[in-house]
Symmetry: C2
Subunit: 412 residues, 2 copies
């Protein structure tokens, strides 16, 4: 993979020109078209900017995020050729930091269930995960050092786990979702993919003008609470092994590690996540679903068919559970600095018809807390499996630093 | 004005056809073009739907809200001719309830400061207020029974007060802002204008499928806390008179009415509202401001120029104040059912260059609580002045019922 930190260093030292850095990504993306299929389209004429911390950094943008210069097609026939007027704020944030938008990455239709044709770079017979399929795959295949995705259930952390890359789903609304096709306004979160945790942190820091997000050279040894999320069912062997491997590595590196049970209300929040998501989705996709029913992606359409019966009362009750659970979760962090949990039930499923299960991700999206995927092991078939480091709402710097600690511990 | 409740009744009784109801609005809107100027464009071929609680109800949509069939120009040259792909969820909610979208109403540029040419129907030498200028004016001028607007500071309640119509800014995210041009994602709220409080309630209830929002025939006598918002400065004589008139009327009608001081943290939240708004606006308008600086509406551009220095740290501190203030405000409602406060400093200012001051509205937008404007008196020049009834977050039904009580008290 291409490390963003490494590129920055070489560019700062004059060992690599920003233009050459963009050129190597352009070449890789161009060569990929017939293999992984991570991009919907890319800009053959993309050029480096002259200044900014992300100069020379080629970024792929998930194709549900508006771009003013190229279409944004949402992975869906209804939006074929759709050209937004403006760049989304997150795209502008990248440009203002000096990055080069190199192209649009594949997304499952409307960032929901209907898969793309993108392959997992580690094993072409497997899904890269979704919904941010192209962004995770493009970083994993060393085409680009940075990519944007979005998560409503597990659409950043899960593909990152399946593709063996670092990723962050930041605190809710740390990055604006303005100009991002909405699925659920309570849940949708823009996230970043990069080679390692420090790379992700550099990207997020530059986008937000928040220097405190950069992982310092020496990170504190965290107190870690391991959460198995039994309420979400049992993981596969590779998922369980990833969590155990990461826990043991962190413990060997000096961290205090203990298993933590979640308060009942938090488990209840896991249960009601789909109520929030699907009630809002019926409104977000009202035009598509009500006026373009036949052209709707079939898996998303089926999901909306099934969730028609959710009432405003169900939704209000679910939102109240979410509020109480956020307060209860906040108290859990009195005892530990971060939580460590599964990023996915196991390695990427075989085939491309199913992008995998977000059941270990969705609770944390609803809680709005920062989540960082750290690759933990390589399972059968060469397929990576990651773990998730979670900090309290607003403590994105802590999540990144602790994830970097776990990443380092796993290397030793 | 055209009462939505009255139209519904006549249509249900067969005394008026939905088609005739739409026809009379079409005629009024067509005749208006040279006078008030409330519409950017309207659909001469608009027809009634055959079913739904809002059949026969012609609705005007503020021109920052996406419509799939006609352009959405944001009151700004940069978006001239801009044609969104989809209807915003709030537009779809109206259509699903049987309403007819009759046209797009004028908005200050990007729902900020740069005014429209729309006139106040009560006195053509005065502003109708902003930013939802056309929606308030079109309802006040009896062109349509219902209109949508949006509020980030005071853009629903203030024009409603200036134009003498009822309006609700519902609880934050009761109506989705998906497909609505974003100013500040923490603040932007979609609201409704109609002739009276019961009309507004019928519209909101139909849009949200929440029957409990309809104001019952008999409403409970509320305990009212009067809030003068001294932290926002003193009102003009007409504003102070409106608040006093409404308080006394409510008291005469049997309500318990007493003045309430706000906790210090709530006054502090009033102070930091612009920090939240402008920090987010710099991101929301990044494409417009950074890439189309010269074409930006000058007043909004100047405001962004002035607020460039707000840091992420300032914003985080402001968001923490907002959170604490919401909790403190929630405790205030242990003692009273609703609050009663000013909708504006006084009657609509003279001239069209300035749409008025949102200083009595902005706190409540940041608190996310439902606010209902009730016309309270007619000041010099025939200009209306309203008051605002406020309930706790999520208690929109209570806000509407209490506002209806105050409205009834003012009639006697």
């Amino acid at each position: 993979m291409i490390s963003l930190a490494d590129l920055q260093r070489r560019i700062a030292q004059g060992a690599l020109s920003p233009e050459a850095a963009i050129g190597q990504s352009l070449e890789a993306v161009g060569a990929d078209r017939a293999t992984i299929g991570a991009f919907v389209r890319y800009d053959e004429k993309a050029r480096a900017q002259g200044a900014g911390p992300l100069r020379g950094i080629a970024v792929g943008i998930k194709d549900i995020i508006d771009t003013a210069d190229v279409p944004t097609e949402m992975g869906a026939a209804i939006y074929r050729g759709h050209q937004p007027r403006a760049d989304a704020p997150v795209v502008m944030a990248l440009k203002q930091a000096g990055a080069t938008i190199i192209g649009k990455t594949t997304t499952t239709a409307f960032a929901a269930n209907d898969p793309t044709a993108t392959l997992n770079p580690h094993n072409h017979a497997h899904t890269p995960g979704g919904s941010s399929s192209g962004s995770a795959a493009a970083v994993a295949a060393a085409m680009i050092p940075l990519a944007l995705g979005t998560q409503t259930g597990g659409s950043v952390i899960r593909p990152a786990s399946f593709c063996g890359v670092a990723a962050i789903k930041p605190s809710y609304r740390l990055l604006p979702t303005v100009g991002v096709k909405c699925f659920s306004w309570t849940l949708d979160t823009v996230g970043l993919f990069a080679s390692g945790v420090r790379d992700v942190a550099l990207g997020l820091s530059a986008m937000t003008n928040r220097p405190e997000l950069v992982v310092p050279p020496e990170v504190a040894t965290p107190r870690i609470g391991v959460v198995t999320q039994a309420f979400a069912g049992a993981p596969e062997a590779s998922g369980a092994a990833a969590l155990q491997t990461a826990s043991r590595a962190a413990e060997r590196a000096g961290a205090s590690v203990r298993e933590l049970a979640m308060p009942d209300i938090v488990a209840e929040a896991w249960r009601i996540h789909p109520i929030v998501q699907d009630f809002e989705a019926h409104q977000s996709f009202a035009w598509e679903y009500r006026q373009n029913y036949d052209a709707m992606p079939p898996l998303l359409r089926g999901r909306l068919d099934e969730s028609k019966g959710i009432t405003a009362r169900d939704y209000d009750a679910a939102m109240n559970v979410a509020l109480s659970a956020r307060q209860a979760l906040s108290a859990v962090f009195d005892e530990v600095d971060v939580l460590l949990t599964l990023s996915a039930p196991g390695a990427a499923p075989k085939g491309l018809s199913y992008t995998g299960d977000p059941r270990y991700n969705r609770l944390w999206t609803l809680m709005g807390v920062p989540c960082v995927n750290v690759p933990a092991l390589i399972a059968e078939g060469g397929l990576p499996v990651g773990v998730t480091v979670i900090a309290p709402f607003g403590a994105d710097a802590r999540a990144l630093a602790a994830a970097s600690f776990v990443e380092g511990a796993l290397r030793n």
